[in-house]
Symmetry: C2
Subunit: 270 residues, 2 copies
């Protein structure tokens, strides 16, 4: 089992991957989007990608990418995020703070209070940040403690995220839709006619009137023009469940632009 994820070693993605499958062979990609496409391209059996954080919000680029991915979402993983500030043991004055944009966003208040004059730089992953901090003594990285070990850095401060309760949800992309378990979630993407008032209301009505709970709705720009959006919606249930199946059937008749991204077991609470 080859499992694709954002690299290098020492990212939160690696933590999530190990929670998902202890024994998988990890295949690191330089870029989240590449990891998301890797199952379609036959390079891995599954991929794991971050989709949202409880403080900083959605990972926009992965939402956009899911529209192109043909392989289904087969699972979700939620991990607690504890951000650390780390630098070389011989680091002197910290002039630059590095992290993935999500890491920087989650520690905005901490950075402003403790390093008001530092230059802020974003990197492709928190582990990339740690790797740079290993090279330059005037730089500190924000990321997970595993990075500090991996890159021989000293942890200067721990749990520096602005909110203690900080979780990231990851999606697993795989080859085959899992069978219903009775505790499932289904992810959808839909493009509605924006010039028809009430289009979203009617769409949601197919779920609400059937007692189907919506756990998430996220809008993303269609990229065609300002004020034009796609919606990413998670509902409780499996697309092969009778009631949800009926709702999806009714919606597919109504709009040709509905994509079922996958149905998968709900992650354990963390």
């Amino acid at each position: 089992m080859r499992l694709g994820l954002l690299g290098p070693e020492g990212t939160f993605s690696e933590m999530a991957a190990k929670k998902w499958r202890k024994d998988a062979e990890l295949v690191f990609f330089d870029d989240m989007e590449l990891a998301a496409m890797a199952v379609d391209e036959g390079r891995v059996d599954e991929s794991i990608v971050a989709i949202e954080n409880s403080v900083e919000g959605p990972v926009g680029v992965i939402h956009d990418r899911l529209l192109d991915v043909k392989s289904p979402i087969v699972g979700e993983v939620v991990i607690p995020i504890r951000q650390c500030l780390m630098a070389r043991p011989d680091a002197s004055e910290i002039k630059v703070i590095l992290s993935h944009p999500q890491g920087l966003g989650q520690c905005r208040k901490y950075i402003r209070e403790h390093y008001p004059n530092a230059e802020i730089r974003s990197t492709g992953s928190t582990a990339h940040a740690a790797r740079l901090a290993q090279e330059f003594p005037e730089m500190a990285a924000i990321g997970c403690s595993a990075s500090a070990e991996k890159y021989h850095l000293k942890v200067l401060a721990e749990g520096i995220q602005d909110r203690t309760a900080n979780y990231t949800r990851f999606l697993v992309i795989g080859k085959n839709l899992p069978a219903p378990t009775g505790q499932d979630k289904t992810s959808l993407a839909v493009y509605l006619d924006r010039d028809r008032p009430g289009a979203l209301y009617e769409f949601l009505g197919e779920f609400a009137t059937r007692g189907i709970n919506m756990t998430r709705i996220e809008s993303r720009p269609s990229k065609l023009t300002l004020g034009d959006y796609r919606f990413f919606i998670d509902v409780e249930g499996h697309c092969q469940d009778k009631v949800l199946g009926e709702a999806l059937h009714a919606l597919k008749d109504r709009t040709s632009k509905l994509k079922v991204l996958g149905s998968y077991p709900v992650a354990d609470k963390v």
Copy 2:
């Protein structure tokens, strides 16, 4: 009239500010959030802040900040975005590309194709990026052409955003709610009970059943726990209009966590 905005000079915010008021005295802030709070703090008469881009999506930090801002939204401005790559006239090989995260996100494809090995750094504004590129010949900045002039940089490439149709919408925060014009928009923030299925559906129903068009819905994490969201909703009409007023009244009875952020004339199409 003192108008607050993200600085330094040469940002897209400055373009938007000049479109909003030609004759205002511009007051530059280092940080968008500071600009958003400046009316409340009596430091300016109005502030202008970016709220969403047609390609890269919402400016999350401004949404979160609007919950605390007491002054109303009094207007909106939409400007076309044409991103330029710029560097010192004596620049040699470009090793670092700098911009605001929105600028980097809007030119993701261009950067990957033309500068696959460059280090990507995010800055507080596109003008901050230009200022750094002025100092270091191995760095290039992505931003508006006004920055190139202002910081004596050479434009290496123009219109490098991944989508030609690229617009940013700005909100103006002011002191007094403008009177209805007949062509208005109202912005709301609401926190719904997530454990009640259909809560969002019922909320939207108060608009849909009255024929009120919703032009935008954006979810943001409540930051309390994963899967818990606030919604930012724009609807057509002014909160002092009879029909919209009735809908808001019905909704306020239903939830105590509804905030009317402002009512303002719809921006001219660009």
